[in-house]
Symmetry: C2
Subunit: 410 residues, 2 copies
């Protein structure tokens, strides 16, 4: 089944690859219109998914749910993608070789993209908008608990595509709950890119098992290092924001590292602030004495992406020890230092190997919208092709076009 | 062993990552000087390799051999890399967000690169020069038949590095012939990039088995399509150049596709030219009548990268059939059309999915030097990160650096 979906997707994609941005935008505009028209249908389908998933945890149910304000936000997101400039076409290096051959790097779509995601049905809207705008086809595979919602969303996409005069197979979904299809997608030779969007287990599985090109996204064990040169109120504000403003996302902080010289001052102030938000502090031996309530941190705490109102705390001797800790436990996502010591700030920015490195700012800015890139397909934590928030460009490649008058190599 | 080589390489790499281009160039200049001083030592080591490999085929022995003119060319290549501009540092997107946070994309080295290659010892010089110039460390694993040559080359590199005040472990090699090390390298978690340089068997093995990031290079089943709008003498010249100027390389043509309307004119002219070079034509049923001497082509011929003086020949009904054949058998490397028909030329350039697409020029130009990129680490046939000839930039990634004054996300 996947083999024929790939071929159908490729056929549909070829026509879109050669289209103007205005034609691709038209698909997105149609989609937004259809979401408006079929909003009650979508909410009803989502309600079926919710009714079928009463055994889910409250946070998973929250992810699965889709209401009118969320649909409105997703429609806004589509319009943001419409307004973004076209990632396809000329713009790469152009040169004329000594022999008269002209060379030009032209941005082209990747082709057919596979997207494996979990329970959030909105992914099928926002990620697909980016994939279609950049001239690609997509095969969606969402969590089975969101099947009814995804079915309606994909019908909207296919109608939006058909109404624009393109082949409806540009957007396809595997709705069969059999997990074998996930494995098959990872082994689908010819698939141009597979993006896993979800928790660390899914992402690790895809990275380990895939035989097709993958972009690894989203696992964020992010740190804030509070240096002895830090402004304490600023440090409290940044750590608190990085932890509590949205604890369930990948750019939230999971560990705070504190220079021993300021631990006695910073940690009580941090505890006072975080206790207002019911954050549980998992403290190492050296930080515990400065905290009135905490649980003991083990090595496992430092390796964990909590995605909850938990924060690991560790006192370090110096910047170097903080860098060592981050190199060991970090996931190359987002890392921050708070300091007014200029050499320490610069050293941290240079030495930390991560997609985004912050000096005196919250890790929560690692996001396509915050970076003013428009929407994002995910946050890449790998080094090849895309790093950090991935916008439209990450969904393209280029080819070299060479025009000659009979040139041969001597 | 590989684990500690990786850690040692990473330690050495960190110092180099923060260095000026002039310091990295100094390593390359030292290397060139040492190659000059130790040329006879290197040639003697290579002679041992040759003596140990008397059972190799003549073409493999040719690849293994290293003589004074070749060493001089490799030294020239190093100096070309020295002259190239620094791929590291600023130059990516820079923006100031509305909240005052400044964002900057800074080009940084990938880290530690693994290079698996076969019998050509010069790879340990030319590829390493690019890897070091771009601030990376390397772990080399060459074919066991080149072990003595590689040992001398790596000693030169380590002395060149040491003399520049850096850690010698920036360049390391696995000289143990046990094939297990190749597998171990493909599974070496934390290795930032693995590049296979060699034949299709090696590359396929790496792509299938690797659990680390890989860039796929070099398998080129390249086609020249001679359209009915072609200038016949130009088409003969281009096909001949693409086949015979260096048949053992990935950008050589392996199949010529001929429009049926001109087959009667083109094929005899091509045969006359290619017979002077002893090219064996593997012809399909429809091309055979136009050739005086040929062997029968099977489906296998069309799928094969001959890398020899063999050429598959096929008559097609039209451009569309040529595009279908290339989509089926091509390896996304380099593809050419010869035509004076403008719409056909443009259609071919747009429709073919390959790293480099040529109109009225030989496929043999797909090369870092010809593209005026300086040396190349290989020709990428994948779509992510790098496509076509890969120069210094392909060996870098970037990180986002964000400088704030206490910004938090609202």
């Amino acid at each position: 089944m996947l083999r024929s979906m790939l071929e159908n997707g490729r056929r549909a994609q070829r026509a879109v690859a050669g289209s103007d941005a205005s034609q691709r935008n038209k698909i997105l505009e149609n989609m937004s219109q259809l979401l408006k028209e079929r909003q009650s249908l979508l909410i009803a389908a989502n309600q079926i998914d919710l009714n079928n998933s009463e055994d889910l945890t409250p946070s998973l149910r929250k992810r699965l749910g889709l209401d009118a304000p969320q649909i409105a936000r997703l429609m806004d997101g589509i319009h943001m993608v419409v307004r973004q400039s076209d990632p396809l076409g000329r713009g790469g290096g152009q040169k004329r070789l000594a022999n008269g051959l002209t060379l030009e790097a032209v941005h082209v779509p990747l082709g057919v993209v596979g997207l494996i995601f979990e329970s959030r049905p909105g992914v099928a809207i926002e990620a697909t908008a980016l994939i279609v705008k950049s001239g690609n086809a997509v095969i969606l595979r969402g969590g089975h608990e969101a099947a009814e919602s995804i079915r309606v969303i994909v019908e909207c996409w296919q109608d939006a595509i058909g109404a624009s005069g393109f082949d409806r197979n540009l957007v396809q979904a595997v709705l069969d709950p059999d997990r074998q299809y996930v494995t098959d997608m990872m082994h689908l030779e010819g698939l141009d890119l597979l993006i896993p969007r979800g928790g660390p287990t899914l992402i690790q599985q895809v990275v380990q098992e895939a035989r097709v090109p993958v972009i690894e996204t989203g696992v964020g064990n992010c740190h804030v290092y509070v240096d002895d040169g830090a402004d304490i109120p600023m440090a409290v504000r940044i750590v608190s924001n990085a932890k509590v403003s949205n604890p369930g996302v990948c750019n939230a902080a999971e560990t705070v590292l504190v220079h021993r010289n300021i631990a006695h001052e910073f940690l009580p102030a941090l505890e006072q602030e975080l206790s207002r938000h019911d954050v549980v502090l998992h403290a190492d031996d050296r930080s515990r004495p400065y905290l009135s309530v905490s649980v003991d941190a083990t090595q496992e705490d430092f390796a964990k992406e909590y995605l909850s109102l938990d924060l690991a705390v560790k006192v370090v001797d110096n910047l170097d020890q903080a860098l060592g800790h981050i190199a060991r436990f970090g996931t190359k996502h987002s890392e921050a230092i708070v300091t007014n010591n200029y050499p320490h700030g610069e050293l941290f920015l240079n030495a930390v190997d991560a997609a985004v490195v912050y000096w005196n700012a919250s890790t929560r800015f690692s996001d396509g919208y915050e970076f003013e890139m428009g929407g994002e397909i995910g946050i890449s934590t790998q080094k090849l092709h895309a790093r950090g928030p991935m916008g439209l460009e990450a969904l393209t490649t280029w080819k070299w076009i060479a025009r000659g008058q009979g040139q041969i190599r001597t």
